[in-house]
Symmetry: C2
Subunit: 405 residues, 2 copies
């Protein structure tokens, strides 16, 4: 017996919204000649059911999906508005039984989220679905999720408002003499008070992440395992990324790259602050980052191949002789931005060579950054919605960088 209502109704994803998502997936399944998809990853479950429990969501190419819940079925019933059978299950071997029981044909070609599904589970599916061919449907789902509905966009805007407040709070808290770690503790506390969910979903194996970076001076030039231009030293070798113990000083870059997450939806934002002034080379690079952002705002529109935004940024960096520092050094990344939504790393990838056209309803972060190894890194990042007429910048927080204390 659970409490009947865990959340206010306005927090639940509407039934029509969930149904539309499922219908769109069914259309795609048909395109790929798949008979169904078995969805188990937490974020994909959130996308199609509005919530996450330990469950298998079976979406047939035609007809009504079923949700088989291992734990906790009461929560799935109260927290999802999807109007489909929600049934308890204990063992994977029951899946076939439940598919038959709901008058659905057994899939001959079945989609699985193979980018994240563990081998041990896959080997069990192979033993259960004896006459089934498996297909990686990750890309199908990610492509669907890249185009945001107006419901999703309103959620993302709420997250962005929270992020503006968090960034403003930094100005009230920061002072020379605090360590990076002291400062993030205070900022994360503000974030939680403002409703930050804490957990930030990043798709993929080993995708460890915690809030983001607050990096100062030489630390802002350091990278890690993560596929980003700057990631910091971290406090311990066992968790070697993010803020560390360095004391914040005057006249050095303070790179604040934090990720907001609220009601599932994420925005990403970076500013480079300084208490005092920074070296003219770093200052100039920050101006170039702003110029890159401005050029992208002017150029981006639906239909443009994603790579064009990267190429444009590259061209501007080259014009200013900053190629050796562009998007990380000595190990640059080859993108200028990334899709964002329920996960930090969604489609589109705004990278070298990506031909896929930008589409209306995409939401992505643009993050021009420059790294000077052994010295510092500077950069700027904002999250944008791609509308019919072009990019809409979400944050109203200024792109500028000087703190006068």
């Amino acid at each position: 017996m659970q409490i009947n209502k865990n959340f206010n109704d306005n927090l639940l994803t509407p039934k029509a919204e969930l149904q539309k998502r499922i219908e769109k997936l069914q259309l795609e399944l048909r395109q790929y000649d798949l008979d169904g998809a078995l969805i188990i990853q937490s974020t994909d479950l959130v996308y199609f059911t509005g919530t996450y429990q330990n469950a298998h969501l079976y979406i047939p190419v035609e007809g009504r999906p079923i949700i088989m819940v291992r734990r906790n079925i009461d929560r799935m019933k109260t927290d999802s508005k999807l109007d489909v059978p929600i049934i308890p299950f204990k063992s994977m071997s029951e899946i076939i039984h439940f598919i038959k029981q709901h008058n659905l044909p057994l899939p001959k070609r079945l989609g699985l989220e193979m980018d994240v599904l563990p081998v041990s589970s896959f080997l069990r599916y192979q033993k259960i679905f004896l006459d089934t061919e498996f297909f990686d449907c990750t890309h199908i789902i990610r492509k669907l999720r890249a185009i945001k509905s107006s419901f999703e966009i309103s959620r993302i805007k709420e997250t962005s408002k929270m992020m503006d407040k968090i960034f403003r709070s930094l100005f009230e808290i920061i002072r020379p003499g605090l360590s990076e770690f002291d400062l993030v503790g205070e900022i994360e506390s503000v974030a939680r008070r403002e409703g930050h969910q804490g957990l930030i979903r990043v798709r993929g194996f080993n995708a460890e992440f915690y809030f983001g970076q607050l990096l100062t001076g030489v630390n802002s030039a350091i990278t890690s395992y993560f596929d980003g231009p700057i990631n910091g030293v971290g406090l311990y070798p066992e968790v070697p990324f993010g803020p560390g113990g360095k004391i914040i000083q005057r006249n050095e870059p303070i790179l604040f790259d934090y990720v907001g997450a609220k009601s599932g939806y994420i925005t990403d934002m970076t500013r480079t602050f300084v208490i005092g002034s920074i070296d003219s080379k770093l200052d100039k690079s920050y101006q170039v980052a702003k110029e890159i952002q401005q050029a992208i705002i002017q150029e981006a529109k639906p239909g443009l191949p994603a790579k064009m935004l990267y190429d444009l940024a590259y061209k501007i960096a080259k014009k200013y002789n900053l190629i050796d520092h562009f998007m990380g050094a000595p190990y640059p990344v080859s993108f200028i931005g990334h899709g964002i939504g329920l996960e930090l790393n969604e489609l589109p990838v705004l990278a070298k060579g990506i031909e896929e056209p930008l589409q209306e309803g995409m939401v992505f972060a643009i993050e021009p950054k420059f790294v000077f190894p052994g010295i510092a890194g500077v950069g700027l990042e904002n999250t944008f919605i791609l509308n019919k007429s072009g990019l809409e910048k979400l944050s109203s927080f200024p792109d500028d960088k000087i703190i006068n204390i």
Copy 2:
């Protein structure tokens, strides 16, 4: 070019410690007739190299391992004391080349971490290692990691000290009228100032986690996807676990179940507080939880089958007619505790039916809890080391529960 030293030397795991871990794994590989193990999961990489980068660690059954690093090789070189070849690699197809180049035989039987390895990676390994049979070596690694060295135990003790400070801080901060979410914001800020790494590693697919629970009143009776007795409602349906927006009141249980993590190592701790007094049924249950802990402290010793601790707890719960509430309701879990170390859910599992004997050097959390659906949950949890002579309780924070404000 990275900074030469990212961490003080005393933060790095000593070379001899890492070598010992690898030698022990090699002994196990021989037992299982494996020619090598390919290790890629973040926590296992931390265990064997002392740090984490995007890398493949190949450990042959005999001879010197090699580390192939995709990103960031400089960090792997500076942050690991393991004295083995560290080489850059870009594509999985190079793995065989590097194994041969280092005069190691190609494995006929190769261990992989199949509990977490994604299918998409596995399919690529199958195309690369054409004459190789794959074997799930997860259990081998987890069994090794269950026995902590004195180096690890000293790390775990440091984390426990931090946790005591965090729990003490709750007394200074908590007051009726705060929401659960306001309070955790403040506590997490204290945690970060005390050196909490933020990130808590939980092994397995979809293992989402964030710090733990602070749950009050009816919320402390609610569970989620997570395999634990109590997990809370959460603030949003998209992240439906952990603290929520409920306002903290007098005379209701305040269940504080938080996870500490520092220098990689984790401890787990729960107390049930109250501002004022609670219902005598809940109060009595908390006394029974304390009695269970005490009985386990008296009984546990190396050699005892793990299930005996669960059975003992069950017997005491039964004696007090609390079986319907024992370890969760309506969906109880069938364990009384879990191993802990670099991950929250290590071996041993102290569960019904587990015959494996307890061993000296194991570290685990014992968490007797009682849930009254629609009313509240209460419980206690401490992390212990199993020494030759029995259990050593890590926390010095009192088990009692009354706050006088």
